[in-house]
Amino acid sequence: MDDSVARLRWLRVPALLTVVGLVVAACGTSAPTTSNLAKDQTLRVNITTEPNSLDPGQEQYAYEGAVGASISEALLKIKPDLSDAAPATAASYSVSSDGLTWTFKIRSNAKWSDGKPVTGADFVYAWQRILDPRLAAPYADPFFDGTIAGAADYANLDASKPADVAKIPAFLSGLGLSAPDASTFVVKLQAPSPFFKWIASLWMSAPVRKDVVDQYGSDKWATSPTSLITNGQYKVSEFVSKDHITLVPNTNYWGGQPTLTKIVNYEISDENQAYAKYLNGELDEVNVPLANTQLVKNDPVLSKQIKFVPQLTLFWMDFNTRKAPFNNKDARLAFSKAVDRNALATNVLQGRSAPATFFIPKGMNGYRPDLGKTQDYDPAAAKAMLTAAVGDPSKITVDLLVRNITANKQIGEFIAAQLQTNLGVKVNQVVIDSKTVTTRLRAHQYSLYIGGWGADYPDDQDWFDIWMTGSGNVFGGYSNPAYDALVKQADTTADAAKRQSLYDQAQKILIDDAGGGFLYQRNYMFLVKPYVQGLTTTAQDFEDVGDWFWSKVSIGSH
């Protein structure tokens, strides 16, 4: 048995959070010796869904990043504690004093899976490709067109208009991307962007080979292991549609060879089925279905295999501020104060999520729980506030839009019950299929919805930008010029302390305005087999805990 787990049992640390910290620390320090390694170094995990694409320019979902981050390596890579971005394909980088020019030095031994060296030109090509409107890369906006010099025109180029298509070559060559020599990649930015190191570490920022794309076709190269030439620690050896994707080490990788010789990513969408496979020993880690939470916690064997990992994901009540009663700030605040987050976290979410009355989750620089006091649960004050703001609550009816997914429905039930009991308003739950919900949200045809945000990267900018006026990621139409001005200034401020204080002020405005009624932070509750050694989890994991750092994992004998 893995000695870190044995040590754990002896310590009997009560708080689960501390346990996770210890496991990570223990694994990180005690390098597994070869003698206790299993013969078969295969890791079997569940990514839940078949990736639509493994082309870095086309990826957009977590289940794609889960594989993409292992096979394609960007310039930088997040550190496990998310404190900074560490060198990856780039050995180092420097930023000009005005903060506008970022120069990345690419490792001389960085190689593609076919043995060719990774060059600055590969990055220029990959990033130009993402900004080519004809590719329609999902995240061309905002990561790339919002930062790179000359890229802001992306929004004005319509790929369906021949006149615009003719302008594309000039647009791409005019971007602030260049490779003065094979080992240098220079990016010029629109404005100083202290958060750009995170953009450079996104899995979709990985390089792409022009000759491969030209040979196999832009739409085809990433669909077969033979043409999917990548530069990460692992490469794809097998695609079995709707079943699994197998990864094996990239023998040309600059950083040496990992212990795991095979990673099998299963595509099992049913969480109960995945859970049964874990119990049968067919998966090495699994997300615990919500309904099984207590069972797992009370099980003498399983309870020792729990990994509890807070995620940078936070949920809130999304008020449509264009409509009564939510066009009134006090009404929004009253709704927020009427929901008992502790009961929500404990009863509905089985103690797996942390209650929140603030916007920035734990694990980020901007985490300031003290700012959330304005939204604290206080049913009596809430009802008085609502009555004072918009009159008799019993005359108010709101529609709560809910996606037709079990977990969402349970949360919807709870919120509706709380609002009806504590405020005396009438809440209609509108439970419909997911696509229709999104369509209505985008068309602003709703009054209340439980929305949320998961970090793309652990920088406050990624969070605060979504509440700016006109943002497409919060549907409620919240707008406050003071908030916009603070965030705009903070986004481009290099001085960390000053930047933080600007974001703090912005967060206070957002909470006091009840732009959203903040509810809870999501945590991952996983089971991991005791023989999985060296698991390094982050608050930014994709589909499985530890999937950013499979390179550190090994399988102990069992």
Binding site: R134, S160, K220, Y266, A276, D433
Partner: protein, 338 residues
């Protein structure tokens, strides 16, 4: 009418081109039925196309992080969704006429035809095996029950049919999983669960095939039993017995041939349903089949995939009905095609 000398007799010319008699009319009949598929498919495509575009939501709508307006516009341009509805419809019809079913929206740029070719074989294999079981066991126990009416054999078959016909596939599938994949895991060694290792013709197919076949077996057994009992009471059967024929001859030559007519008409649609996939069985056993692919395509508004699977299903249903009609002529000489 004057007959030109040297001209071949008309009849000879015609008979040289098309053989006469029963074979010829059968060939014509099949050709005509297959040609009828064209207007049928046209209606199917039209209705599906309209309904699909009426459904709210676009392929680019999703949960979580939203795509920006510029990206959505470029995606629409890439897949031709920016064109007027009618233009899209006409273009699709022209493409389908050339057997081009387009590219999937959900699985970036993969041809729908290759996605279908990948997901249909597992469904078809499981469906065909289940069908085989249904024919053998459904008809078999139905006939036996009728021949031994009011004995324990009959009661057992009727009991099974009643329970089998009222147990939904998801209940049966989950019960089988609980017993064989979870509780008896130590004994069965995981032999009875999917996937791990992809789809193959192995012991993993037992549970899905049994789950898929149980309800139709129950249904076909009841149908066979009822129809056999009715035939057994006919005068010509009494005559056959009176002639002193052996039981085997009476049953195969006289009873089965007549009692199977309603069964065959039920088996046709059953076959079509089986090989177009059961969403429930495929979900319960994680089979990468076309039933699931279809449901996922609908929920993600993958228009080309929805259309192509609907076309495939229509063709299969039409062909299954054609085969049933042809089989009628074999088992019932009174039936005439035309």
């Amino acid at each position: 009418m004057a007959v030109v000398q040297g001209a071949p007799p008309r009849g000879a010319l015609v008979s040289f081109k098309i053989p006469r008699g029963r074979g010829a009319s059968l060939g014509l009949y099949i050709a005509r039925r297959i040609l009828w598929l064209v207007p049928v498919l046209f209606f199917v495509i039209t209705i599906t196309f309209v309904l699909m575009h009426l459904a709210p939501g676009s392929p680019w709508d999703k949960e979580g992080k939203q795509l920006s307006a510029a990206v959505v516009r470029n995606l629409n341009a890439k897949y031709g969704l920016n064109e007027p509805f009618l233009a899209q419809y006409v273009r699709y019809l022209v493409n389908v006429a050339h057997f081009d079913f387009g590219l999937s929206y959900q699985y970036e740029d993969q041809p729908v035809s290759s996605l279908i070719l990948r997901s249909w074989p597992p469904t078809a294999v499981i469906g065909a095996l289940a069908f085989l079981m249904i024919v053998i066991f459904g008809i078999g126990i139905g006939v036996v029950a009728a021949l031994r009416q009011n004995t324990w054999v009959d009661y057992a078959v009727v009991g099974f049919s009643t329970i089998g016909a009222s147990t939904p596939a998801f209940v049966l599938g989950i019960i089988l999983i609980i017993i064989f994949s979870v509780s008896l895991y130590r004994i069965t060694g995981g032999n009875f669960s999917l996937p791990t290792g992809g789809f193959a013709l192995d012991q993993h197919l037992i549970m899905p095939v049994v789950t898929l076949a149980t309800l139709p077996i129950a249904f076909i057994a009841r149908l066979t039993r009822a129809s056999t009992l009715e035939v057994l009471r006919q005068d010509y059967i009494r005559t056959a017995w009176a002639k002193g024929l052996r039981e085997r001859l009476v049953v195969t030559k006289h009873v089965l041939k007549n009692s199977l007519i309603p069964v065959v008409s039920a088996l046709g649609p059953t076959f079509a349903v089986l090989i177009t996939g059961s969403v429930i069985v495929e979900s319960v056993f994680a089979i990468p089949g076309i039933g699931r692919a279809f449901v996922i395509a609908v929920s993600s508004r993958d228009y080309p995939m929805i259309l192509a699977t609907t076309i495939l299903f229509s063709v299969i249903v039409a062909l299954a009905n054609l085969v049933v009609d042809l089989l009628y002529t074999v088992i019932d000489p009174r039936v005439r095609l035309g």
